[in-house]
């Protein structure tokens, strides 16, 4: 069980590192490119919004995985 938890946390950390790197790459923030627009939002903004939500979701998943873990309480 603990091994599975550690593996899952490593996967989430990997995704977080990938999202961090992507945020500062042309994938999310291409220089001088406004389009394509989605629902009126320019590209770097809607991808930025997606990344923001992704980090909140990743944080939520960490909290679910760590729920059963012994903690500082």
């Amino acid at each position: 069980m603990k091994k599975r938890r550690v593996v899952l946390l490593k996967i989430l950390d990997g995704l977080a590192i990938f999202a961090f790197v992507a945020s500062f790459s042309p994938l999310v923030t291409p220089q001088h490119v406004a389009g394509p627009f989605v629902l009126g939002f320019p590209y770097a903004l809607w991808t930025g919004l997606l990344v923001s939500f992704l980090f909140v979701i990743l944080a939520y998943l960490v909290s679910v995985i760590n729920k059963e873990e012994n903690n500082a309480d």
Binding site: F24, L39, V56
Partner: protein
């Protein structure tokens, strides 16, 4: 407008007084006064952390940042804030464990205990004082200048600063951290409601979000991409900002204290996730305000633009609420920072508790006065000074993280390197040494040195001493 502002101000002050009376601590000990009883639930924890995090720089600085530099400001703050939430949820629990084990009174004291050397504590405390006092001051001065511009015939700028600092000191001294947290909750809710009403009004001006961006595109296409019209949001700028903001829960004592005193790990987890959602919801309306300004007031000064978007273009009732929201945003961050500096000092004192708390209260008062003096002397460059403050404290991040994550006492390498790095950073900021090394901004070079020092500590010195990272 002045009448409505005064009515709203009296109601706001009345609620503050009520909360201070409810939370008043009669017997002031480190636990009850400085750590708020150490039993903070999810809702209060969320609002106090959010109010502490989102200061005047969010209300004034971010709309202006969006207006001047475009949508890259979202990556600068919102994306970085949600990254911070992930770091908080991953490392916060380890901080809490360490804090429980080593009788946490403040991050500086924790560093003394972790490293077994006073130097580490002095570095953490010194860094906090150097970088937080100017940030507190610039917030107070920013709001005071703005209030003076709104009511030019009322009272001078310094008198507004005095009133704001007076309110902060009064309720901090009376009720301690618990009073601050309850007031933060009030201020956080007020800020949230105000900023959304104004943001919504800004969208309504255009009819819809797509037509708002269409209009912005017709004025300046560069606002809709990075690095923005003035080229500010370079990849290096965004990375440095992200590192600085991600480090906040561990390097800014007013936030780390809140992480430690949460009632339970479950409350901390809920607070962290809530904080991510609140960050998105607070920054989004500042984007709308900024785009509104980019179309209607592209050439205006910050003062003029904020004056229009918060006051003159709003109904009088909303404008009065906007002003109170602005004051609340500044106060809720500044009071927490001043109080946290006091707590940091307390954590370094090894005196009898009653005497230590008394000295701490005197210093909270002195830190307030110091911030007041700086605020009267300083000019306002809110966002960039806030970023310098975040980056400066982030330089202490590796030392603090190595301290938190090590299961045994680390060597003095990290405190010594951190002192040197802080000196170099300050010299670069005041222009005595270049702010770039080759193509790299100096901050990135300094972060790289700190990272190398951390690797050396953990994998070489730590192994030699048997130091390991706790899981």
């Amino acid at each position: 407008m002045l009448t409505k502002f005064l009515i709203a101000g009296v109601i706001y002050l009345g609620i503050l007084v009520f909360l201070v009376r409810r939370t008043r601590v009669r017997e002031k000990t480190t636990s009850s006064y400085l750590l708020g009883g150490g039993n903070i639930g999810f809702v209060i924890g969320l609002f106090t952390t959010a109010a502490t995090l989102f200061s005047a720089f969010t209300v004034i600085g971010m709309p202006d940042f969006f207006r001047t530099h475009g949508i890259g400001a979202w990556i600068f703050l919102a994306v970085s804030d949600t990254m911070m939430v992930y770091a908080l949820i991953r490392i916060g629990e380890m901080l809490r464990r360490k804090a429980r084990k080593l009788d946490f009174k403040g991050m500086s004291g924790l560093m003394v205990n972790t490293y077994g050397a006073k130097l580490a504590g002095y570095v953490a405390f010194g860094g906090a004082v150097i970088f937080l006092i100017p940030y507190i001051a610039v917030q107070i001065s920013g709001i005071s200048i703005f209030l003076n511009a709104a009511f030019p015939d009322a009272i001078p700028v310094w008198a507004w600063s005095l009133i704001i600092v007076g309110i902060m000191i009064l309720y901090s001294e009376t009720g301690g951290l618990r009073a601050i947290m309850y007031n933060d909750t009030l201020q956080g809710i007020l800020l949230f409601i105000t900023i959304w009403i104004i943001g919504w009004n800004c969208i309504s001006h255009f009819g819809s979000i797509p037509s708002m961006f269409n209009k912005v595109e017709s004025i300046s296409n560069e606002l809709l991409s990075v690095p923005g019209p003035k080229g500010l949001f370079t990849t290096q700028f965004l990375i440095i900002s992200a590192i600085a903001i991600i480090s906040l829960p561990f390097t800014q004592p007013q936030i780390s204290t809140r992480v430690v005193i949460m009632k339970s790990s479950s409350a901390l987890r809920k607070m962290a996730i809530g904080l991510g959602i609140v960050a998105i919801l607070i920054i989004l309306p500042t984007l709308f305000m900024g785009m509104y300004g980019a179309v209607l007031y592209p050439e205006a000064s910050t003062q003029e633009f904020i004056g229009h978007v918060l006051l003159y273009d709003q109904a009088e009732g909303i404008a009065a609420l906007g002003l109170i929201g602005l004051i609340a945003a500044a106060i809720s961050t500044s009071d927490s920072q001043i109080f946290a500096l006091g707590s940091e000092l307390r954590s370094l004192l090894t005196l009898r508790d009653q005497k230590a708390v008394l000295i701490t209260r005197i210093f909270i008062f002195l830190f307030g006065i110091l911030a007041l003096i700086f605020s009267i002397l300083s000019t306002e460059h809110l966002v960039l000074l806030a970023r310098t403050s975040f980056t400066g404290t982030a330089m202490m991040g590796p030392m603090i993280l190595v301290g938190i994550l090590s299961s045994r006492k680390p060597s003095l390498l990290m405190p010594v390197v951190t002192v040197m790095i802080l000196i170099i950073f300050i010299l670069a900021k005041i222009g005595m040494i270049p702010s770039k090394i080759g193509v790299l901004e100096i901050e990135l070079s300094l972060f790289a040195i700190l990272a190398i020092a951390s690797v050396l500590e953990v994998f070489l010195l730590g192994k030699a001493k048997g130091t390991t990272l706790s899981d």
